[in-house]
């Protein structure tokens, strides 16, 4: 499932998946600041790969600090996908 989400839709998709309130996500600069623990992060990264439509290299997501970082990576990955 590769889509063209803007930041709002991206965050809303994640929030719905975890039964969270979208307005509460993206306010922290880190995942833990947004209430993600390890179990949720594990699932979030799987969800991310579904959103971009392909696997992400192991380790790439380790440098991602929060939802906004993740959205930036989403934009990068999907724009690369569309160019190729």
């Amino acid at each position: 499932m590769s889509s063209h989400f803007d930041r709002t839709a991206f965050i809303e998709t994640i929030a719905v998946h975890f039964d969270l309130i979208p307005s509460e996500l993206g306010t922290g600069s880190t995942f833990s600041g947004d209430g993600f623990d390890s179990l949720m992060l594990y699932e979030l990264f799987d969800l991310f790969e579904e959103l971009v439509g392909r696997p992400v290299a192991p380790g790439a997501l380790e440098e991602v600090n929060g939802i906004d970082d993740l959205f930036a990576m989403y934009r990068d990955v999907t724009s690369t996908s569309h160019r190729t």
Binding site: D19, S38, Y42, E50, L61, E62
Partner: protein
């Protein structure tokens, strides 16, 4: 039967109650793998368990057993225990253990320790997911329990979180860091797990 899926990959799910094919990469996921613990790693494990706050929140709960007693306690009552490593190999990033197996009634207790440097990264949790599938595939457990201090209770949201049920709470059971804390017993049911995307997911991808 619903196919096992992960990241869009699908494969035929092995029989739940029959003998299915044993996938060669069964303990290998996309980001993490399960390997035997090497004896030379006992010192590293002891050091990781001695780091605060693990020293008071995990297995030994403020006690400092002798080196010999530490290794003995590491394996006491254990049915299966693995090191979690990065999928490419290398140093262990945590441990998973299954202990107190009750084969008459079909349950056991599991524990996971993700080392401090790797906590909050997400990917080492795949080792726990692989471990649960390994146990339900290799043993006839109906349920796997996990006893946690309320301070360690994971956020049970999302698909993975919904597979974990809170089934018991002993109020003020533990004494931790100067106060009494509840012991919470979580449970993963075989029926829930084998219907989930996490059942044999990694192995399914490799076939």
């Amino acid at each position: 039967m619903k196919p096992a899926t992960l990241n869009g990959a699908t494969a035929t799910q092995p029989p739940v109650n029959g003998i299915g094919p044993y996938p060669s990469g069964f303990r290998v996921g996309r980001r993490a793998r399960l390997d035997p613990i090497e004896p030379h790693e006992y010192d590293l494990i002891a050091r990781m368990e001695a780091l605060p706050p693990t020293d008071i929140l995990y297995r030994n709960m403020a006690m400092t057993p002798s080196p010999g007693a530490f290794v003995e306690s590491l394996w006491h009552g254990v049915t299966v225990q693995f090191a979690i490593r990065p999928v490419a190999g290398g140093d262990l990033v945590g441990l998973v253990a299954c202990y107190n197996s009750d084969f008459r009634h079909g349950h056991a207790t599991i524990a996971a320790h993700i080392f401090d440097d790797f906590r909050g990264r997400g990917w080492p949790i795949e080792g726990v997911v692989l471990f649960v599938s390994y146990l339900f595939f290799g043993f006839s457990y109906r349920k796997l329990y996990a006893d946690v201090i309320d301070l360690n209770l994971p956020t049970l949201r999302g698909e993975a979180g919904r597979l974990v049920r809170e089934e018991g709470r002993l109020v003020d059971h533990y004494f931790v860091a100067g106060e009494h804390r509840d012991r919470i017993t979580l449970a993963i049911h075989r029926d829930d797990w084998v219907r989930s995307r996490y059942w044999m997911a990694a192995a399914a991808e490799q076939r």
